[in-house]
Symmetry: C2
Subunit: 279 residues, 2 copies
């Protein structure tokens, strides 16, 4: 499977790359970004996967978060995929900003119309992590973490907790925490998975956390108190269990924007670094 370079820019002590490839999972061409810090020829580096929110592509995080300085400082590879299939047209995929294009919700769709392309869960967990990224970046598969924002925070928590052997650390900025109970989540889960709500729980961060019995995970979550979308996010639904803890920090005056994300970015790198040091 060919992976094609789209762009390359020197940034701090490393390079910001954008690649595209024909995805076998989503059956279309996918674009993703990856920052690679300077490294020795035979050196493997820890990696973070960052999942973006509704309406984003791979580019928003790359252009607006300022993450590159911390990826350079901590010498982490950072992979930031797109949020949905692109370049295929499924009827209705552009009718609204919170479903279809830009809104894959990191699920494997089962409703027939969407099931062929909308498989962002497998795309991240299998194809990108295991097949594609190793072709272009020297990732140390033992030290991979996952984080994200809003819909991507939902993706980071659900994917991270369901795949603890692949993702050793988790954090999120203003994640959607209980999608089965809020309009964004109900629309997406009904659309991609159908009306049987018992199937929705496998993509609900609060439900997954409740049942989680894997290795210990402390999830760092930053949430702005002036976030207009707080009613859709519901961080209070995430409850500690014997196997997982939530470090929820309510940040006064901050909203849902990349100004908020940029402000606390370094803390998230330190959070993941702390976990990697213990591996």
């Amino acid at each position: 499977m060919a992976v094609t370079l789209v762009s390359s820019n020197r940034s701090f002590k490393g390079r910001q790359f954008v690649y595209k490839h024909a995805s076998t999972t989503t059956q279309c061409e996918m674009t993703f970004g990856v920052y690679i810090p300077d490294h020795e020829a035979d050196e493997k580096r820890p990696a973070l996967f960052y999942l973006s929110g509704l309406t984003c592509t791979h580019a928003n995080f790359m252009e607006k978060s300022g993450f590159q300085q911390y990826a350079s400082k901590y010498r982490f590879i950072v992979v930031h995929p797109d949020t949905s299939p692109r370049g295929v047209d499924v009827e209705g995929d552009s009718d609204s900003w919170d479903f279809g294009k830009g809104a894959g919700f990191y699920v494997n769709a089962t409703v027939e119309k969407w099931a062929k392309n909308y498989r962002m869960y497998d795309y991240i967990v299998k194809e990108l992590l295991e097949d594609v990224v190793p072709k272009v970046a020297p990732i140390d598969a033992a030290r991979v973490g996952i984080f994200g924002h809003s819909m991507g925070g939902h993706g980071a928590i659900t994917i991270g907790l369901r795949n603890p052997s692949k993702f050793k650390s988790i954090s999120a900025f203003a994640p959607i925490c209980n999608p089965i109970t809020v309009p964004w989540g109900q629309k997406a889960l009904a659309g991609y998975l159908g009306d049987d709500q018992s199937t929705w729980q496998q993509y609900d961060a609060s439900e997954i956390l409740k049942a989680y019995t894997g290795p210990c995970r402390i999830i760092l979550i930053d949430q702005g108190t002036a976030d207009n979308f707080l009613a859709q996010l519901k961080p209070e639904t995430l409850k500690e269990t014997n196997h997982a803890g939530v470090m929820l920090r309510m940040q006064p005056e901050f909203d849902h924007s990349y100004y908020f994300i940029a402000t606390f970015m370094e803390d998230h790198f330190e959070h993941h670094a702390k976990h990697f040091r213990s591996i």
Copy 2:
């Protein structure tokens, strides 16, 4: 003159604001951004003016440079205006990306067609600095610096050196240094000022530096070696004089993008801070 709030976002220990106002200088509505660090009610803070490059609005710097963390750390107010008049239509102002809209070149036009609106020099030096910004931000007029990128680097050096009592420190990322000798500059200067090239020199950084006899100025300039536009920028034309020095740093592998600017942003804040400490 009313100044109207467009947006306000918490960012690090301060706020990113965008304002608009009816400009008496450019005879149209102008938009600008300003970051204000947290401060006491009666506290004045140093300020930096950042001038953007060709095609930019006030927003590129705000969204892509990551400057807010340093404005917060150094507790500087940072003002970032638009690059040309907007909302008025002069025939031909949208025909090319390097002249007209997004390409004011920080000059006061004298060619009749442009002379009414294209007065970005006076807009920055007089209206914005003296009238508008003090209405919304507690700037310490004794400690104001200026910096910019590309066309905005040209603006920063020319405006800074011509107004040493107003701007106490100067720096630039990949500035246009000798516009009278390169296509971008020749097109803009002929267009706005007419064919008498003797009038162009007042807007040429190298020519102004050569004749500069004001208070000592050390100008920090970062320039990427992989910059596609190097032939238009000509940093080697800036020569030291008895009154001014140029600290030119050629940065290997870096291009003309905001990845380059973000990488060296902190050094520029430290450069201006050093000058302010001695005032």
